[in-house]
Symmetry: C2
Subunit: 125 residues, 2 copies
């Protein structure tokens, strides 16, 4: 079809085998969304926020005080977490409390933590 950037293979698998693998993969769009989803976890501030919210809802100023960061920075990050579907807000008067939005979140967090702690015990390189 198109041989624009595609580099030819002399060794490695033949084109038919590669096509088979490609067809078994999730769609380009889903993989993109997946990377965007993980990207949200891939920031120190945001993972701290998620960690803080694992056991209790918290308001913005509590999170800011907990992480010793400015209110604005936390608010910006909460917006990203919210639009990614990781947290949801609940208004109570002036205060807005945030909590985790999905039970998947804790599972993924714990699995990742388990991985890095396991790796820390026996580092590879």
């Amino acid at each position: 079809m198109d041989n624009l950037i595609i580099e030819e293979n002399f060794n490695g698998k033949d084109e038919k085998s590669l096509l088979k693998i490609k067809n078994a993969m999730p769609s380009i769009d889903d993989l993109y969304d997946l990377s965007e989803f993980f990207k949200v976890f891939g920031d120190s501030t945001r993972i701290n926020i998620v960690s803080a919210l694992l056991n209790s809802e918290l308001c913005v100023c509590d999170i800011a005080q907990l992480l010793e960061m400015g209110q604005s920075a936390i608010s910006h990050q909460l917006r990203i977490l919210k639009s990614a579907g990781l947290v949801k807000p609940r208004r109570d008067g002036k205060t807005i409390y945030y909590s985790l939005d999905d039970e998947h979140i804790k599972l993924i967090f714990d699995l990742g933590l388990e991985h890095i702690l396991h790796r820390k015990g026996a580092p590879n390189e």
Copy 2:
């Protein structure tokens, strides 16, 4: 101790409660490592590579052909994946085959995929 950037709380939880929450959280270092770990998943190219390797090992040029990207770009990303402990290389003559390094990886990948597919079915905003 230090009241440099810390913003005072009038509403929200008292300092003792916040300290309790803080003590229940993983260490700063572990959370940083965790965010760095997730950051590796948070790139479209790398998540594509991981996805391609879920069922079979592949050499660099196979991956490049599969993703229709340059060999150099793939190689750079494989280095990141390798030093994060996600993939490991196996040399066979000129060719170097990469495969997933840890059974956690597939679990985390699948859990994330499940999340975004579930979310896609019933989007929140």
